[in-house]
Amino acid sequence: MPALQSCPLLVQSDGTLMVNESHPRYEEARELLRDLAELRKRPGEWHTYKLTPVTLWNAAAAGWTAERVLARLKELARYGVPAALEREIRNNMGRYGSLRLKRQGDELRLFSDHPGLLAGIRSLRGLESCFRGGATAGSIGVRPEARGWLKRELIAAGYPVIDEAGYRSGEALAISMGGIGVSGRPVRLRDYQSDAVEAFAPTDADRSDSGSGVVVLPCGAGKTWVGMGAMARLGCETLILTSNALSVEQWIRELLAHTTLRAEDVGSYTGERKEVRPVTVATYQVLTHRKSKDGTYPHWKLFGDRNWGLIIYDEVHLLPAPVFRMTADLQATRRLGLTATLVREDGREGDVFALIGPKRYDAPWRSLEDEGWIAKPACREVRVPLADDDFLRYHASAKRIRHRIAGENPLKLGAVRTLLNRHQEEQTLIIGQYLDQLHSVADRLSLPVITGSTPHSRRQELFDRFNRGELSVLAVSKVANFAVDLPDAAVAIQLSGSFGSRQEEAQRLGRILRPKSGGREVFFYSLVSEDTDEVEFARRRQQFLLEQGYRYEVDRFVPEGWDQPREEAKP
């Protein structure tokens, strides 16, 4: 087919769509893609989107028909729309609306206009126990406890269920935003935060299929605020699940500072304390704790302890598998997932969709950066050579051990020292994977250290001192990867990291992304042992950020007394 250069979209058979932001019709294409597809990456001027069954079902839910979708795509596609994709679009959008879960009296029933479809579904293996009673014309009874499981299985089979059975309201709890922000003005949500709340829980209450889903915002963009906004919008008792006890405390602090909730309304449910209050903040660990491998989960009862109207899953990309199982039983309760990235290292993005809900809102990192809502980082990889002994040891070791040798390269200490000298005026975090290394660096530089074994009170004290500016440098282990609010941190030095975890790199960068006064630049350094596999791991770690449009520079650290580096291959 002749190529139409005047068209901005490249459409592939597998639903991948590419658009160039400098094309004159870019805006037109972006508007369309926002409705139909999800942004996968935007490393440069070309942005990649993906049409998936889920995005198409979302589009169908928003009123799009297959014919309209195809007509618009054909208007914008440079090489036309491949036949295979055309059929996928018709199939997927055609299926949307064919199954609806509704309440009929006290009973939950699955309705379809296609009786053959219901018969087919009844015969799907593993779903027999989800149904009860016989099928009547166009519907079949569903066991209430099977609501999540059934939806998940049917989505996996390619049949989305419009869940119109509604959510329980939960116990009412009057909450509104309040308090004074750092600027001295009353707090209010930023526009994108309001948009995220609206996308999650629309003011238009007729959209009975909404009210559950995931909001994706970069670190530092205020996901907690979206959570609070959702609570205020729904006005109900809420269970908040997060990744660690420190984060529990930060949530509670934010809730008390910026909402009308009183201290007696908010409880902490962790290894140390077990308070169940109208708003309860718990860790994933405590929920999944059990005495033996085959034992029951004693803290699951928390889900039933109160009449929750909303469950918030913070850092949803870290949600442990047992919590997915619990979530399948909680489909009558509204669920809000919060995350900076939907990338799950275990590849279970589909479960997040099925059990928490579809992505309701996503703001590209760079857009927020351009608008000044998050700081602009300068990302730099610093190559540090290995000393001769370590170099020999590295090459004589098994692959797995090599990574540790490279990660713990003692010469990184000199690089850290140089960087601290360079940024004496900035609040700096030194983040490390290996505790021995972290303690060694902290000892040599006389820095306080926070690791998993640091008591919470001590952690909080150190974070508070850091936030007040009494400490300018903190050494932290991976406990600080997530959900730690350090608004003034402007420099992060990554000593070592997991093999190639893309989300870890993003999370660590997130520690310094809170906008700084005067729009000051922030700095993210990643120390990497030269001529080792760590270079390749670093490249993989940087992938997510490159895809978000960030740029890495590479420096080489020359330890004191070393000759200048050998002649590098120059492009």
């Binding site: 002749p2 490249l10 440069g44 036949a83 055309e86 390749e536 490249r539 740029r551 590098e568 492009p571």
Partner: protein, 691 residues
């Protein structure tokens, strides 16, 4: 055989004759070469407008009956006479024959053998038909494979109406999965062979595991090729789709058979040099459509005819399939052509060139490529596109990316996805190592990427490439010729010999010397002079792999690829018979028999009729008691008691009448009618280049 090869093999005398033909002379006068003139895309249309009815009719018959298959002249004559005689009455579709260009030529029914022979001669003179001579002297005539479609499209223009614009968008494609056009299927197969090799067994069959991998990666299926029922060599154990793709690659000489393996040509799609156009896949598909239609479809005249008819449709526009079925030229709808049309549609859809679907419940189809023969597309601008290099190391090759660029990219980066709209690659350390081993330096890789993308390489890509290439080429593995001496004293003496000095590169140990490159023989000579002849088992570098590659031409000959139906193994035949040679015994015939009608004795009349029958020509006849002369085509002559009678038909205004029998004495006046006689005489007795 193609026109270009035909002309290249043509004897100079015949080339001169062709150059003098008015149609070519006119073009040559405007600065074209003979080859260009003969290949002019507008020639068929012009010729069709000007040709005499019998030649036009005959060429139509050749196209329909043979396509680009070779044929014997006598067989053609028999076929032509039979078709001509039968068409007036016996063919049921006669009155339903389509209007338009079929009708005027239909007026030529009842052509005599002599007229046919003269027309054949004219087609040879005009450089439309060509001839080869078999070893035992038989002649085969043929239409060059690349010209046959042009003639068909000029002589049988089929212009069905596409679906109206408002229904175009309602057409739904039935294409299953993601298709690739044959150009890209072939490309991927060749890339896989380059990367992983394709060893063959001692019997010459490709390695089963490798061929299964190749076949498994194709979107083309064995069933689709099987259903097309094409004639081509399928090595034992090779799935049909792989066999077809490899066969096409062999024919294009993109693949070579070597004694122990099959090997992709080094640069099958050109060098990708800046001054050389880099063809996008669409251009290659046009070439491949020519190849597939001529060499696979061409093996069956009906299939070739149906295939060529479809090439007159507009690309990208939906048609109802039933409107695209060609009718039998002389009799209307034909089950044979309908079946051939169905097979070809299915094949072109399988090859990613055609899309089929439904509109309003009716089967519809549309071309995804420009189906016109290459000769009609020549000179049109090619829009080879740019690569897109992403900062995250992905390289995108959009649909219009040139094939040579794609071939290089396969070396430099790892392919992630292959979709018709876009191939996506990723730069990796392993891919860069591969490129390094193929001779790329960092500078080469960057400058190539920048030249192909038309933009500076993104920062992150430069960094990654510098990292990866920076480790390559710093160490070298080499092999040395060593001179080992079993005695340190002798070694010391040798080291002092002035003549040996330049031959020894370095003393590696007390009794070991590295021999200077290329000096081994000279060193051995000097050692013999010194009285220390070296042992034959002296260490040396492993010699080069001496397994000589079979030249592509030999390999091709072995498989018969590249030379459809073996025409190129025959000598070109440069004999265009003189007009007189079409009528053996002309010299012994009284000129009066040919010049004017006369009254003859009944025995002489018989001789005239017998001569006309032998020449398979007609007679001008005035019957006893009638005034009017008529053109009578005799068919048989039989004795009738003491006399004789002739059976045949009168042809009036080009239309044959009923068969009738005439007693010899009813032919009052007669003369033998020889076609082309006036023209030849005016032209001065014709050209004779007969040897």
């Amino acid at each position: 055989m193609k026109l270009e090869e035909t002309l290249r093999r043509l004897p100079p005398a015949l080339r001169d004759l062709l150059a003098a033909h008015p149609a070519y002379a006119e073009r040559i006068a405007k600065g074209l070469t003979l080859d260009q003139a003969a290949g002019s895309p507008d020639l068929p249309r012009q010729w069709t407008e000007r040709a005499d009815p019998v030649s036009r009719w005959l060429l139509r018959l050749i196209i329909r009956s043979y396509g680009c298959l070779p044929f014997e002249e006598s067989a053609l004559e028999r076929l032509a006479i039979a078709s001509s005689a039968g068409s007036g009455r016996d063919r049921p579709g006669r009155t339903d024959a389509p209007d338009g260009p079929d009708r005027p030529d239909g007026s030529g029914e009842g052509w005599t053998g002599a007229e046919i022979r003269v027309a054949v001669r004219g087609l040879l003179q005009a450089g439309i038909l060509f001839a080869v001579r078999k070893a035992w002297g038989d002649r085969l005539l043929y239409l060059p494979g690349d010209r046959a479609p042009l003639w068909q499209l000029a002589l049988f223009p089929m212009r069905p109406a596409p679906l109206p614009p408002e229904r175009q968008s309602q057409a739904c494609s039935d294409t299953a999965g993601s298709r690739l056009p044959l150009s890209l299927e072939l490309f991927l197969a060749l890339a896989e062979i380059r990367r992983g090799g394709l060893p063959v067994t001692a019997k010459g069959a490709p390695n089963k595991a490798r061929i299964a991998k190749l076949a498994g990666a194709m979107r083309l299926t064995a069933d689709e090729i099987r259903a097309a029922d094409l004639a081509f060599a399928r090595p034992e154990g090779v799935p049909e789709q792989a066999a077809f793709v490899l066969d096409a690659a062999l024919r294009k000489r993109w693949l070579r058979r070597l004694p122990n393996r099959w090997e992709a040509a080094e640069r099958p799609f050109g060098a990708g040099a800046p001054d050389e156009p880099d063809l996008p896949p669409s251009a290659l598909d046009a070439e491949l459509l020519d190849l597939v239609a001529a060499e696979y479809g061409g093996a069956e005249a009906a299939l070739h005819f149906a295939a060529t008819a479809l090439r007159g449709l507009e690309p990208g526009v939906w048609y109802r399939e039933r409107d695209t079925i060609p009718a039998e030229p002389f009799s209307g709808p034909s089950p044979e052509l309908a079946a051939a049309h169905g097979r070809w549609l299915a094949l072109t859809a399988a090859l990613g060139w055609m899309e089929r679907g439904t509109a309003g419940g009716e089967p519809v189809c549309r071309w995804l490529i420009d189906p016109r023969p290459m000769a009609l597309q020549a000179g049109e601008p090619l829009d080879a596109g740019c690569l897109i290099v992403q900062p995250d190391g992905e390289i995108w090759a959009p649909a219009e990316t040139g094939m040579a660029a794609r071939w290089t990219l396969e070396l430099l980066a790892d392919r992630q996805t292959a979709d018709q709209a876009m191939f996506i690659y990723r730069l990796t350390r392993e891919s860069c190592l591969r490129a390094h081993e193929a001779g790329f330096t960092l500078r080469d890789a960057l400058s190539w990427l920048e030249a192909q993308s038309g933009a500076p390489a993104p920062h992150a890509v430069r960094l990654s490439l510098a990292d990866w290439f920076g480790r390559f080429g710093r160490l070298t593995l080499g092999e040395e010729t060593l001179l080992r001496v079993d005695d340190a004293e002798l070694a010391g003496k040798l080291a002092q010999d002035a003549a040996l000095g330049p031959l020894l590169r370095e003393r590696l140990a007390a009794g070991v010397f590295a021999v200077a490159a290329g000096k081994r023989d000279e060193l051995a000579r000097r050692l013999r002079e010194l009285g220390y002849p070296p042992a034959a088992g002296a260490e040396s570098a492993t010699g080069p792999d001496n397994r000589a590659a079979t030249p592509a031409s030999q390999a091709a000959t072995a498989t018969g690829d590249g030379a459809p139906r073996g025409l190129s193994v025959y000598e070109p035949d440069d004999r265009i018979p003189a007009w007189e040679q079409l009528f053996p015994g002309l010299d012994s015939v009284p000129p009066a028999w040919l010049r004017q009608t006369g009254r003859y004795h009944v025995s002489t009349r018989r001789k005239l009729v017998e001569r006309a029958l032998a020449w398979r020509t007609s007679l001008q006849v005035k019957l006893e008691g009638e005034e009017r002369l008529g053109l009578f085509v005799p068919e048989t002559l039989e004795a009738d008691g003491d006399g004789w009678r002739v059976a045949g038909r009168f042809r009036d205004g080009g239309v044959s009448g009923e068969r009738l029998e005439l007693a010899g004495d009813r032919l009052a006046e007669l003369k033998i009618e020889l076609p082309g006689e006036d023209r030849e005489k005016k032209a001065g007795a014709g050209q004779r280049i007969d040897r």
